[in-house]
């Protein structure tokens, strides 16, 4: 019988990869693209995408909505897990609407992860053409 941690990790398929899932493409520092889930090669890689984050403005102390997307991914679905200080590119839809074009993002902050619970959060920033 699986223990609670294993069950919690399995539950991530429901919480991150079912109704709330949006497709995501990860490009590693080696230039390798991952478009499919490691758990199921038939399925697109994806997770939960929050397009804005709530932050505290350091100058005023007031909360503000920041245009900084956060993607939560199941660690077991990744071929390679992003580590702090690594440069990764992420392609994901510009909006939750079906058929929305993919937009390019890069990792902005170190990876925030709950490896013990099986998911990681990637804080992304938009990038423009150099």
């Amino acid at each position: 019988m699986a223990n609670l941690r294993q069950l919690a990790e399995k539950d991530l398929k429901t919480t991150l990869e079912s109704d709330w899932k949006l497709p995501v493409i990860l490009i590693s520092p080696d230039g390798i693209r991952q478009t499919k889930s490691k758990n199921d090669p038939e399925e697109d890689l994806g997770g939960q995408v929050m397009y804005e984050t709530l932050e505290i403005d350091v100058e005023t102390g007031l909360p503000m909505v920041s245009d900084e997307p956060v993607v939560s991914l199941r660690v077991s679905s990744l071929d390679r897990v992003p580590l702090p200080n690594e440069k990764w590119a992420v392609l994901m839809p510009t909006s939750p609407v079906e058929g929305a074009p993919m937009e390019e993002f890069v990792l902005q902050k170190p990876v925030v992860g709950s490896y013990s619970l099986g998911f990681i959060r990637l804080h992304l920033t938009r990038v423009t053409q150099s």
Binding site: W88, E104, V127, S130
Partner: protein, 211 residues
């Protein structure tokens, strides 16, 4: 107007303004409401304003000159976003090596903001410290002791996809202020003449009988 106001106007109109072109924008006040997009890349903003002044205590009569040690703040604000070669990232057929090189070459927003503010400090200092601008746009002899006292760079602040960064430069100089008075308003003419048109009853003055 006082000399410090003339100097501020000259700093914007004669010294920094003509050099701005497509490298930065300059204004003469502290702009409270601005977005990170409005100061993105070469839209960097330079704010020039009179910050403080000191007067020697011994001066001050209405007819004598007052030495004014004035300080101007030159505030610089930039914002930047991250840059990468999107044509490679969007290309599914790009080779692994080319894609890896594109990812490795991307520049973070904070790094670009730092480069932009350093470049702006370089530009502004070179303009203000130029010997040809020693008189700060005034007639020779009006301004003395022109000096750029210090430069301070702030901390980067995240604004969504942008990072903003500010720096401050302190310009001091000395000039003589003369009390010119406030421009008077024209007086309203009050007609206080007394006109006696007729004296039908002979009631005014002294009547001399028989005269």
């Amino acid at each position: 107007m006082m000399v410090f106001r003339e100097i501020q106007i000259a700093l914007i109109d004669k010294i920094l303004g003509p050099q701005a072109t497509d490298k930065f924008r300059v204004i003469g006040y502290q702009d409270q409401g601005r977005s990170s997009k409005s100061v993105l890349d070469n839209n960097r903003l330079v704010q020039v304003y009179y910050k403080s002044g000191d007067f020697e205590k011994k001066g001050g009569s209405i007819s004598s000159k007052n030495m004014h040690d004035m300080t101007f703040n030159i505030e610089m604000t930039v914002s930047a976003d991250a840059k990468a070669d999107l044509s490679v990232l969007n290309n599914e057929n790009a080779s692994q090596a080319v894609t890896a090189a594109a990812i490795d070459s991307f520049v973070t927003a904070s790094q670009r903001a730092d480069d932009l503010i350093d470049e702006l400090i370089d530009i502004i200092w070179n303009i203000l410290a130029d010997a040809r601008n020693a008189d700060l746009g005034q007639e020779k002899g009006v301004v003395a002791n022109r000096w750029i006292g210090g430069i301070t760079k702030g901390d980067p602040a995240n604004r969504g996809e942008h990072v903003t960064l500010m720096a401050q430069m302190r310009l001091t100089c000395r000039a003589s202020e003369v009390v010119k008075g406030i421009t008077p308003k024209p007086l309203t003419f009050i007609d206080n003449s007394i006109t006696i048109n007729e004296d039908n009853n002979s009631n005014t003055g002294v009547k001399i009988q028989g005269a």
